[in-house]
């Protein structure tokens, strides 16, 4: 754990300072004002102020100095990241950049080795996926975790079935499922009593997302939602993400596909070798600069806006040197 002590102190205070702030309101202007929230890893105290000054809006989820090691392998080092409500945050990075490790930490699959997670300003400890779901953090993994032999309603309610008169309340389940899918503008599904095995890739993704939303999710994490999809199906899923956003649900999208990211994200966070190398509103990035950041950790194209990006390359002796 090579974390500089100054670094430990900084975001912790930032987190506490922001905790008593107002409740989450959708803060659209955040995107415009947040010219400074570029939080790299050990970027220095002025960045902490910048993060705190997410224009006064309390982030829905705040990660502070999250670190995770697997034996000698440092999977995540000092990730500090804010997820604002009602916005789509894309987390991009090459293979092994730590994207999956990060979302597994947020969704309670495993606990971080150090650092803190704040949910609506309050520090939380996620010991199981159930803890995360209970807070309203729903994760849709790439494999979707659907049972092909069960129909859409049965999948959406799996593990949460309402029971009435000693038997499953199919009618209320089916009504809720239909309403949830309609709210998400999922129209291509003919019957909610179709087995999930009969659906197309985009439809399956939609069912998985609807399942998450139905449980009062405030934050939906989508792991590579378009990875296996064709063009039309991808459009369906991107529309779905916009639909979630319009319902004031925060979305984290993990993706390799920069076209999709640029089309749907409000904010972009770039991970490289377990470190956060850049984060900011989409307007500050273009596809090429993101690729530069993903692969080298820096981008000449962003040199004009030094506040946006912290360059771990500059201080790589510290944390991003891969053992």
């Amino acid at each position: 754990m090579t974390t500089p002590s100054a670094d430990d102190a900084r975001p912790a205070t930032a987190g506490r300072a922001s905790a008593p702030d107002s409740d989450q309101a959708p803060q659209e202007q955040e995107t415009h004002q947040a010219q400074a929230p570029a939080v790299g890893d050990p970027a220095g105290p002025q960045d902490a102020n910048g993060a705190d000054g997410l224009d006064g809006a309390q982030p829905l989820l705040r990660l502070v100095d999250i670190g995770k090691n697997f034996g000698p392998v440092r999977a995540l080092s000092d990730i500090t990241l804010d997820i604002p409500p009602g916005q789509v945050t894309a987390i991009v990075g090459d293979n092994g950049a730590g994207k999956s490790t990060l979302i597994k930490t947020i969704s309670g699959i495993w606990h971080q080795d150090h650092g803190q997670i704040l949910w609506q300003g309050r520090p939380i400890h996620l010991h199981s996926p159930k803890d995360a779901t209970g807070l309203g953090i729903a994760t849709v993994y790439q494999d979707l975790a659907l049972c092909d032999n069960l129909d859409i309603v049965q999948n959406m309610f799996l593990g949460q079935e309402p029971v009435r008169h000693w038997q499953l309340d199919e009618i209320s389940m089916e009504k809720t499922a239909k309403r949830t899918l309609a709210d998400l503008s999922v129209v291509t599904i003919r019957s909610v009593r179709q087995p999930v095995g009969s659906l197309s890739g985009g439809q399956r993704q939609a069912v998985a997302v609807a399942k998450a939303v139905m449980r009062q999710a405030r934050l939906v994490i989508l792991d590579e939602p378009t990875a296996a999809l064709g063009v039309t199906q991808t459009r369906v899923v991107l529309d779905l993400i916009r639909r979630l956003k319009s319902q004031n649900i925060a979305v984290i999208v993990i993706s390799h596909n920069l076209t999709d990211v640029m089309s749907v994200a409000d904010r972009i966070a770039v991970l490289r070798l377990g470190s956060l190398v850049a984060v900011g509103p989409k307007s500050q990035f273009d596809a090429e600069s993101v690729v530069d950041l993903m692969t080298t950790g820096t981008s000449k194209r962003l040199a004009a806006e030094p506040a946006e990006v912290s360059h771990p390359a500059g201080q790589s002796s510290g944390s991003s040197s891969e053992h």
């Binding site: 032999n149 291509t188 179709q194």
Partner: protein, 434 residues
């Protein structure tokens, strides 16, 4: 972008295509608007490989015609009632197997655990100081259920394959059977008679002809009412319900089947003295099928069984306690085997260490699989086990009637089982490529 996933039809022009694709896999009940469309969707499903009970019924018809052509006695009332009593224990063991097959597991031990249970039951009923028969029955059900539960615990705690654990269980149960028999009835030659008239009447006795009619009419009326009430409640909630004509057709088919069974049962099959009536075991099977179908279709437990069989990881992430459900499935399989053991003792009039437990359990797996239960888990119905059990029993009965021995029986059953597994696997392959 990946090209492996087929593009979805876009635009209204392709709506029909979506419909027919959906029809190929979805139950027609929930998407058909009329009888005509129902039939159309149903045919599409048959072509898609998910044909439900159709091949089973066609196969049954073919086998029945064959046997009737070879022996005019086959379709006589006496033989058909005999067939019902033979089918009963195969059906029950098949239903026991469905519980574990739904999870993608198997239980090879129930052929002998059922005999252990029946041994306890018969032993408790031996004069001069017999226990009340309900207590004897409870013990006979509890012993195989506990045995199944222990197997389930070993399988879930130690994460061993059920095939191996229950194969060991089969040997252990055979050993225990010999041990228990030796201890309960020393010097009896390994046989205890069943001394309870109530239990003997399960297979040997029959309802009065009038009672047969009353039970049949009540059962059909009850089921019909439930169908209609369910449909109307769905319509009242603005949900898709099967067309009234389809529901009516189902009720009519049910009534026809009931009438046929009662007519067969009520035909005189005695030679010197008139013997009439539907065997009690038919009612027992009916009650068990309804109870188990409710358990699988309308309760959380049943839903979780299918979920685990379909995708255990998804079920685990949904917060379902996999081990508990798995152990419960083995307990239920054991319990059902206990019922079968008592019915089998009732059929034979005694329980003996010569019971062909290994062969019976294979008949049971055959019955379940022929009836549409997938060996890979996640798919299957209790009613299917009844159909499959009847097919196995028809072969067993018909070949015996033709004077063909065990050799032909085994080979025929093997052929039918192979055919059923092939259908299952091909259908599964067809589904996974869509």
């Amino acid at each position: 972008m990946s090209t492996e996933v087929e593009e979805p039809p876009s635009g209204a022009a392709d709506a029909d295509e979506i419909a027919s694709e959906a029809a190929a896999v979805a139950a027609p009940d929930v998407i058909a608007d009329s009888l005509g469309e129902y039939v159309k969707i149903w045919l599409a499903r048959v072509r898609g490989g998910d044909s439900g009970a159709l091949p089973v019924l066609l196969g049954l018809a073919a086998i029945v015609i064959y046997f009737q052509a070879r022996s005019s006695l086959f379709l006589s009332a006496g033989n058909l009632v005999n067939l019902m009593t033979q089918a009963a224990w195969i059906v029950l063991l098949g239903m026991a197997e469905v519980f574990v097959l739904l999870l993608g597991e198997i239980d090879l031990s129930i052929g002998y655990t059922s005999a252990i249970g029946a041994t306890f039951t018969c032993w408790l009923l031996v004069p001069p100081n017999p226990w009340p028969w309900p207590i004897a029955v409870l013990v006979g059900l509890a012993v195989p259920a506990i045995f199944g539960g222990l197997e389930g615990l070993i399988i879930t705690r130690l994460r061993l394959p059920s095939f191996v654990v229950t194969l060991a269980g089969q040997l252990l149960a055979l050993g225990l059977l010999l041990e228990v028999m030796d201890w309960a009835a020393p010097g009896s030659g390994g046989t205890i008679r069943l001394y309870s008239n109530v239990l003997s009447d399960i297979e040997g006795g029959a309802m009065s002809p009038l009672a047969g009619w009353i039970v049949m009419i009540a059962a059909v009326a009850l089921a019909g009412t439930l169908f209609v009430v369910r449909d109307s409640r769905r319509r009242a909630s603005n949900l898709a319900a099967p067309p009234a004509s389809v529901t009516a057709l189902k009720i009519v088919l049910m009534a026809v089947a009931g009438v046929v069974v009662v007519l067969i049962g009520n035909t005189n099959r005695g030679v010197a003295v008139a013997v009439r009536g539907v065997p009690w075991v038919v009612l027992l099977i009916l009650v068990v099928v309804v109870a188990y179908s409710f358990l699988l279709g309308r309760t959380r437990f049943g839903r979780y069984m299918y979920a685990i069989g379909g995708n255990a990881e998804a079920a685990r992430r949904a917060g379902i306690n996999l081990s508990r459900i798995r152990v419960a499935a083995f307990v239920l399989a054991g319990l059902t085997a206990g019922i079968m053991g008592i019915v089998y003792a009732s059929y034979l009039g005694s329980v003996s260490t010569n019971v062909p437990g290994g062969q019976n359990v294979l008949y049971a797996v055959a019955a379940a699989v022929i009836g549409g239960t997938s060996l890979f888990g996640g798919r299957g119905k209790m009613l299917g086990a009844v159909l499959g059990g009847v097919i196995v029993a028809v072969i067993y009965n018909g070949l015996e009637l033709l004077g063909l021995g065990a050799a032909a029986q085994y080979m025929w059953t093997a052929a039918v089982l192979l055919a059923a597994v092939t259908v299952d696997t091909v259908a599964r392959r067809g589904r996974s490529t869509t």
